[in-house]
Symmetry: C2
Subunit: 293 residues, 2 copies
């Protein structure tokens, strides 16, 4: 089974548990769980998680699968809640109507809540196989999702008049990439600490790439509203360094990411994966597309 | 330490972890976590949980404390999200402004999300002490919180035109009472299954009592808006059976609850607790307060 099929299967199976096949359950909310998670985006976070797990030996594949599905469900939940009218008020996500547009605002709140819960349930279900790894996976995912340092904290900074920029960026975008590398290592029975830096650097790179896309692309290309950072006055690497400055910063960060990979069996393949993402993340900019330069 | 102090301490300590003392974290969201959880209401669910744990021997008090705090945080999160404009649009909760009124709608969504995550983190933190119990506690709490059978499912039914009433009630109100009795047993190393019925019956009784209060009392007495069921066309035992009918139904259910208590060391005390709740739950109705009778 290819990596992508493996991830899709893991996510679909985990979501199906939440949909409660054959049980009396509210049908629209059950449908919304599926709608919010499939078809997915690039599945970058679970792909990183799986790649690290495989680089570390992947000796408990069911645990890695659960970890990948749990992480992706948290990511999807965050998209559903971020799109709500009180945040980005986004009509479109992944090229289709956002969950609150397709279903309703109550169902979007509940779909997000249910996916968060399902993520932890999916991990706990593997406890018989590897209780210590599962407990660590739950701790790591919780700390990178909630308060004080997870993506909830990242969003929370946007309600403050004075923002700790480094804490904001690490929580808002970095957190789930750190979760990805660390959970991959934990799922394969390795220490998580040496994998922090790789996750943090990929997160930084992703933030810069996202800033570039937000500034350069239109809604049709992005599959979601463009120019949101400017509109909401959010900090953005393009505003800070200019387009070319942001692109070289992106390359530096990814170089650092590759250098940080802990020595392990699959080190070379992992470096290759980061290089591949680097190419995909770096926008091709023709001079005419560069605003103000 | 009295039961009530023990619960307040457990909740306060768990919430303090989420507030991240000394770390760079968004201050308003950190404050909202405290605001949403203190001062609490009657803390009925964690009191039931603790009472069952104590009736079963309570041989791992730290695990019981974590379970009680986790359950109460899920309950508080559900109140914060239920009060949102897209659900009940409630201005008042526990006699003070609801979280979205006191802070903002984005911070209310995030406070609810963070409390859900923190609940699972609080449990996972105890894994070193009792890994099997913790894994079961996480599974039980998740199943009674999310989809397909938890309080999220209960809320989800309110977006359906055709409602499975029994599934709706068990998920909406019953779920966290079932979690309370079962998690109490698990925390003390006992089987959870025999404790299902006690939780389910207390949940039913609580639903009927809530229906009575909603129909009979005003906002000042309730500390939240009254007449909400009527307003939102939600099913209600008073509409179905009348006031006196609902009161005798309440008494029957509580009698059944007491009869269902599994034999254990603290059986008599537990029966006493249910009797005490029965008195507290049953509204004192003077003939002049009974509308339409």
């Amino acid at each position: 089974m290819g990596l992508s099929t493996r991830i899709e299967t893991a996510v679909a199976e985990a979501v199906a548990v939440g949909q409660g096949a054959g049980r009396a359950t509210p049908p629209k909310l059950a449908e919304a769980l599926h709608y919010a998670t499939a078809p997915g985006g690039a599945r970058i976070r679970p792909t990183i998680l799986m790649s690290v797990a495989m680089a570390c030996g992947d000796d408990r594949p069911a645990v890695s699968n659960a970890a990948a599905a749990a992480l992706e469900m948290i990511h999807c939940a965050s998209l559903v809640h971020d799109d709500l009218p009180c945040f980005d008020d986004a009509d479109v996500r992944r090229g289709k109507p956002s969950v609150h547009r397709a279903y309703s605002e109550p169902l979007a709140v509940l779909a997000g809540d249910s996916l968060i819960v399902l993520a932890f349930e999916t991990l706990a279900r593997q406890s018989g196989q590897a209780p210590e790894r599962v407990a660590q996976l739950i701790m790591t995912l919780a700390q990178r999702t909630g308060m004080p340092g997870g993506i909830c904290a990242g969003q929370g900074w946007e309600s403050e008049s004075e923002v700790d920029l480094s804490a904001y960026h690490q929580a808002k975008t970095g957190a789930l990439f750190i979760a990805a590398t660390q959970m991959g290592a934990i799922a394969a029975g390795q220490e998580s600490e040496p994998w922090f830096e790789l996750g943090a650097r990929i997160g930084e790179a992703f933030q810069v790439a996202d800033d570039l896309r937000d500034a350069l692309y239109d809604e049709a290309t992005l599959g979601k509203p463009a120019g949101q950072d400017d509109l909401h006055g959010r900090p953005n690497a393009v505003t800070e360094f200019g387009v070319q400055g942001a692109i070289s910063r992106l390359k530096d960060i990814l170089g650092g990411a590759i250098a940080s990979i802990p020595s392990c069996r699959g080190e070379a393949q992992l470096a290759e994966m980061v290089r591949m993402y680097a190419e995909r993340l770096t926008p091709v900019v023709s001079p005419s597309r560069v605003p103000g330069e």
